[in-house]
Amino acid sequence: MNGANERQYELVYILRPQLDEAGINSFDARLCEAITAQGGHDIATELWGKRTLAYPIDRQYEGYYILHRFQMPPTGTEEVERLLRYSEDVMRFLLMRRDE
């Protein structure tokens, strides 16, 4: 029942550069928890690290880029996006379906 209704998602988000490592880890843990709570699993993580932005966002010139790939039923996107949208440390995010 679960398997048929799941999609492959890809998520990239940018955290404010002032965050220290503990702050990044705790936010990422919170996000992964939310994904899992929505029925997501097989979360793969790619840490791009601190990158210079192509243009300033909120007077910031750098940002921490983090990428996740995971399986999740489509109903979960709302909650995941809500968390990203209302976190002040997230400057930008992109949540996309990545089906073969």
Binding site: V12, I14, R51, T52, L53, A54, Y55, P56, I57, Y61, G63, Y65, L67, M91, R92, L94, M96
Partner: protein, 151 residues
Amino acid sequence: MSEQTTPTPEMEEGAAPIAENQPKFVPPSAPPPAPIFGDDEDEIIDEELEEELEEELEEEEGFTAPEEYVEREGSGRVRRIGSDVRYEEIDYKNIGLLSRFLDRRGRILSRRKTRVSAKVQRKIAREIKRARQLALLPYTADQTRIVRKRK
């Protein structure tokens, strides 16, 4: 209009020249004749102009592309920028590839220049726009200059 409809005594004396100054009905000028030369010639003119503009921009503002952007070979016109692009490779994360499809100002190159198929061009444009949202690519060149100047 108001200046012309309130005549003062002095103005009435020279009524004739004022009347002449009134806007006459001018027939809308005919659109400029369409260029007679063919598409090819048009394209060359346009490209030369744009290359000049790009050189000027480079000299004046000292804009240099970030090192991760792929350099174009030679100084001449670039031929078939996307000839070796595979559809699956086109991705918003592949900045090196996508940057080849931007001009110096950060604009997406037209299909006339890239010479790729419509399908590929659509995907390139889509992925460039995604990369822009994530600040991986600039919307305009001066955004990048602001970032670089600060360093």
